[in-house]
Each structure stands twice: as C-alpha cells, then as structure tokens.
Amino acid sequence: MFAAQATWTIHTEVFEGPLDLLLYLVRRDSIDLKNIQIAKIADSYLEYLDRMRELRLNVASEYLVMAATLVHMKSLRLLPRLPTLIEEEDEPDPAAALARRLLEYQRYKEAAMDLNARPMKGRDVFVREGASIGAADREVEAGINAFGLLELYYELFKRHQAGPPVHQIGRTGPDMEACCRGVLAYVGELGAPKALGTYLRQIVNIEERVVAFIAVLEMVRLRWMDIEQKEHLGQVLVMRRPENAVDLQLLTGRLESVEPREAADE
C-alpha cells in the first residue's frame, strides 16, 4: 500500500522481502544501478516503511535490517574521504555490492516467473494416478520361516539375562585437599617462581584442574603466593611467600564455600 504525492494511488504490491521492495523502488524512481545513489534509495525505502507502519502493516524484521544497512551506507557517504596513509586494496563499495545483490535477486525472480509460466502438473496439465509399477508387489522368497525367527528371538533375549545388571559407579567430586597439596608441593616452600601452566596441564581430570586453578587464585588472594607474568602473553609464574604460613584447612574451607556470585561486587 503506497500513497504517492497528493493523490492516493493504492498499489497492491506484496513484497517478498527487502530486496523485492528495493527492486520496486529502483524501478519506480528510475535509479541507475551503475551509479546508485544511496541517499535517494535509502530515503525512498524508509519512506515506504513509514507508510507501511502508518497503515498498521507489520514490517518484518528483515525490512528493518535492510533499513539499517541503507542508513549506514548513507552515513558512510556523508563522511569526508580522508587520504589513506596505507595502500589498501579497493574497499568493496557497499553500493556496488547492493546493486549486485539486487541484480542477482532479479535473475532468480525472473527465473521463478519463467518456471511458473510452464505448464505445471496439477495446475495446467494432469496425470493419472496409476498403479505402481515395479517389484514392490512381487512376493519375496523368504529364506526363513516363523519358527526360525522365534528361535532367534529367544536366543537374543536369553543372552541378555546372562549376568546381573551392571552396577554403575558414580564419580566422586575432586578431592580438594589433594588438589591443594598438589599445588603446594609443586610450588615448594622456597619461593622460587614456577610456571603455572606446566603444572595445570599435567592434571588429567578437568574438575581437579579447575580446583587447582582456583586454589592458586585463592592463595594469591590470601597472600600465601605471588603471581606474575613478565611479558605480554608470556608464562604465568607463581611463587610461594614463605613468610606467610599456609593453613590448609582454611584453604579447603574457602574453596568449598566459594560462591560464583562473590565476583559480583566489582
């Protein structure tokens, strides 16, 4: 539904999508796709969307995405062209890309019309629903009879009763104390820096790995250890601060009580 200038011209255009609408507008406003004027087409498009909304027609989200794209392209055109310092390859011209998209869409639109113009089965030409041909109805020579199948069935289910049901062993959680001890043993008492990654990587169980990592963080927080990284993306090193004694009970207690939400007081 579109109102042109002063007169009410109602077109009953039903558009398949934003590209379809753009094609219509390009034709209507005789926009040259080779030198596409983004400002003009963006304005026409937005104007059309406004009218659709005025008439309380639902505007599907794809139309809004296209509207945003066009406005973006329009705004890029408004920016002054700065001389580029670095030799860049030709930047893809969004206007040309849009023109290509429209042309490609039109190809398939036309192809669809051509297909539709052919005599279609069920619409223009008709066929008989005939008897099905082929081997489907031929009798199958079965190499087995009912008793043979029964034998197989019993045999299969007898095997299943062979042993008692399998007992499922659950997994216990990671042993926190053991994890902490492991970290402390690795870091040692003397305060020499050790690579954290090396230690963590050799822990196979992922839950234990996580606990060890958090244990390290907690110990740093409690000032029982220091952590450093000498260069950007370099190794992460941890070292013991021998002057502060480790209280293992305290550490495991803290680990157990760590709530994820504690980090929220940033």
Partner: protein, 204 residues
C-alpha cells in the same frame, strides 16, 4: 491459442514422412505403449517399457514413443506425451485445463512466489545451502525450504564441508515432473542483467 510449449523431445528432431515410418508392427507397438503409459500414470523409463513389451531393442521402443508423441500432437488429441527426467508420461494438454479442473473439482496446485523463487535458486545453484538461499532472497527461507522438502520438490543432497557443516539442497525428480522438464539442462538459461529489465514491470 495454447500457451503451452511444444513437446519436449529427447533429441532435436524433425519428423518427415512419419507415415512411412508407421509400419503395422510399429502401430501395434505404439498401441501397447499407449496402454502401458495410461496404466502407469507416473513417468516410465524406456527400459521399463521395453521390458514390459518383452523387447530388447530400446532404440526401437524410443522411436515408437517419438512417433506416438508426434501423432498425438498432430491429431488434436487431448493428451500429449512428455519426457520428464528421461522418463515418459502421458498428460492432458494445457488447453483443456478448465474442463479437467471442473471434473476433478480440485483447486489448481499453485506455488507461492516465495516457493518459486527458492525453487529457482536451488534449481540453478544446486547444491546450495539454506544460508546461501537466504542471502540471495534477502529473507529467511527456512519455512519455504521445509515445505518444498515436504512436497518432494527438493531434497537434501549432502553437507557442505565447511565449519558448521550445513545441509545442501538439490531438486528432485518430482521437481522435473512438476514443470515437465526433461532434465536440469532443459532449464532456461538465466538471463544476464546489466540493467534492470524494464519490460518485466507488469509482472507483479
């Protein structure tokens, strides 16, 4: 005036002197083929027809089919012989669609524009992924693709070997049947556009 195109023959052919070719033996073969194609309803391959006729010479069967086709065209018959997906099928002619629809009492099977656009993209670009279809049309085509799958006009033809491994789609024999196409090569070539075609304006 029929808007239907001429018969789709498997080979480009002129048929001079058809009468000379219609030996009495051939006439009887043609009659048998007529019976077979009527009984089958669905498209039948030349080999299957030959087997039903208990004959080994496929090219002879094919020649008879072509003669039959020409005969139907020339004699203003209500039926025509069409080659779809390299198989043969008897169909009513488009000129008679009104009366047939009246008899059948069904509404004509129409395809929506979205379906047609999606179908044409798949037909020409197959194998093609759903997101490629979305890109060309500028809209989400998931629902259309699903409905086309249900109607057996397209099928999943594989997976694209890229991250995400999306499904690829292609057309089916049902698609060829629907549009009376001999094979995919019979699809009209896509028109190239430099400018927008102004003469397509009254389409919508």
């Amino acid at each position: 005036m029929s808007e239907v195109e001429g018969p789709v023959l498997p080979f480009p052919m002129q048929v001079p002197n058809v009468d000379q070719e219609l030996t009495s033996e051939r006439i009887s073969t043609i009659a048998q083929l007529e019976a077979l194609l009527f009984a089958a309803g669905e498209p039948v391959g030349e080999v299957t027809l030959a087997q039903a006729l208990d004959r080994e010479d496929i090219s002879e069967v094919r020649r008879c089919l072509q003669l039959f086709q020409t005969d139907l065209d020339g004699a203003q018959r209500g039926l025509e012989l069409v080659c779809v997906g390299t198989r043969w099928q008897m169909r009513t002619r488009g000129t008679h669609k009104q009366v047939v629809l009246r008899l059948l009492g069904t509404k004509p099977h129409k395809l929506s524009r979205a379906s047609l656009e999606t179908l044409s993209i798949i037909a020409y670009q197959q194998p093609v992924t759903r997101s490629e279809i979305d890109d060309v049309r500028g809209v989400e085509s998931g629902g259309v693709v699903k409905s086309l799958l249900n109607r057996n006009l397209i099928r999943v033809s594989g997976r694209r070997q890229v991250p995400g491994r999306p499904l690829e789609y292609g057309t089916t024999k049902g698609f060829l049947e629907l549009f009376g196409l001999r094979d995919l090569k019979a699809l009209p070539t896509l028109r190239e556009y430099e400018e927008l075609a102004m003469d397509g304006l009254e389409d919508d």
